[in-house]
Symmetry: C2
Subunit: 280 residues, 2 copies
């Protein structure tokens, strides 16, 4: 099939590389930077530039832009998108996107499928894109009510052919609630963690736990701000939740209450073991 | 030399295995569980049980017990410890230990050296001890004022012969302040993180950031409670610090203040880059 990819950044660029490497599909690519399109064609990640004229020939459009840009792009091109084709987005939030684009798809006779490839690295852009980015990762799909199973299957097959080992079917609401915890809160906490004045002195005094807690502190503030604000209710609830829990530890430590502190730590340990499927 | 190791748990057991593997020293070992001593002798990690009679023959005693037990053990055996020999502890806190034991060492004519091997795994006990535990790790030493450089050098040489690639010389105060951030806060945050109700739903929705943030949640609550309370002032300050910073993010998100949120995230990113020696 003909696949159009809009945005050849880390995600879109990796999609292009992985699709060309692993499937016989034709890939048309678009990026704001013309040099990136040329580079992508040169290395064989894209067959041709995705021009306005080529959009109606695409069986699948993968939009790999920031949330608002994703909405704007699909709305602006809605009437030239092929009837019956699929439009897949790649945003880290789903309610905002699906609420905006499902009606547009319905009106214009194409299928909109919310997607969130759970993969990334600390660096952005086509230069860091790689065909192996999605290996062993999870692809979350939030198909609209009434989506035919064959269309979901089509995306599942494509996802698995480019490295994803799990396709998670969800609703936009469930996605945003769980992602607020698994991904967004992790980035907020890590970013807040590194700001301790003691961080500047860590060398020689740190091991794995410091490294783990601070790994994702280096983030793209523009992209994450937009994602966080598009999921503000769920994320604020998660942040307030961990603040409240941290206050319990702080109180127990200040009061030198060994029993209370031990109970708090034991509860956390046991929760982790339950989640990991271990006995205790 | 003759090395006595008290406590053949994860740290003491790994010390015994690594010393016997990498050096010609004789190792005497003691543990509360007699079967562990037998097992250690059987696999060649220990030459002989460390009896009361053998303590005066040790040139180095490595105490690998919990903080209070470390203090109690050294005090109880102070008069049988060889004059001029070195006693090294392995606790994750140093002020409490050094304040208690430096005077005891002075009175009894031996050298007390605070030590903190920055290595560990999620599982405790001799069964999980391994000779490679200290490979590429940092050994922090907090020698008392007036300690001769030759005695520090002796421990440095031993540390490096069993895998440590960095020997960090510090004061007990500096150690406890920085460790409160690099290690203790990481354990508290991770333990609090996993308690979100959303954690039970993470499967299929999580990637590296979730994994990193929750890795050290599974901890030994008895050991860590004691370590946390022995460092209560520095640790409470770190916890309150991150709570305060998290509140800033929460406020910006609730107010949908994109500029403020973006600034907070950018500050964290830049701090991480400065610490990692990267340009931005």
């Amino acid at each position: 099939m003909n696949i159009g990819i809009i945005g050849l950044g880390l995600i879109g660029g990796s999609m292009a590389k992985a699709i060309k490497q692993n499937t016989p599909h034709t890939v048309f690519g678009h990026d704001l930077q013309d040099t990136i399109i040329k580079k992508a064609i040169l290395i064989g990640a894209v067959d041709e530039p995705l021009t306005e004229e080529l959009i109606p020939s695409c069986d699948l459009l993968i939009v790999a832009l920031y949330p608002q840009d994703t909405i704007d792009f699909v709305k602006a091109h809605a009437d030239s998108i092929k009837k019956g084709s699929i439009v897949l987005d790649c945003c880290g939030v789903k309610q905002v996107i699906c609420q905006a684009l499902e009606p547009v798809a319905k009106e214009n006779g194409f299928i909109f499928m919310g997607g969130h490839p759970m993969a990334g690295v600390a660096h952005a852009g086509f230069t860091h894109a790689k065909k192996a980015l999605f290996n062993n990762a999870s692809m979350i799909l939030t198909p609209a009510k009434g989506t035919r199973i064959e269309d979901v299957q089509k995306i599942k097959v494509l996802s698995e052919s480019i490295g994803f080992t799990n396709t998670q079917i969800s609703t936009p609401e469930e996605h945003d609630r769980v992602i607020a915890f698994t991904s967004q809160l992790a980035h907020v906490v890590s970013n807040a963690y590194i700001k301790s004045p003691s961080a500047l002195e860590h060398k020689g005094f740190s091991a794995g736990s410091y490294k783990d807690l601070t790994r994702v502190a280096k983030l793209n503030e523009n992209m994450w701000s937009e994602l966080f604000l598009d999921n503000n209710l769920f994320l604020a609830e998660e942040i307030d939740g961990i603040i409240q829990r941290l206050q319990q530890y702080s109180t127990a430590i200040k009061e030198k209450n060994a029993a209370a502190l031990c109970t708090l730590l034991k509860e956390g340990k046991e929760r982790k073991m339950i989640i990991d499927g271990e006995k205790f």
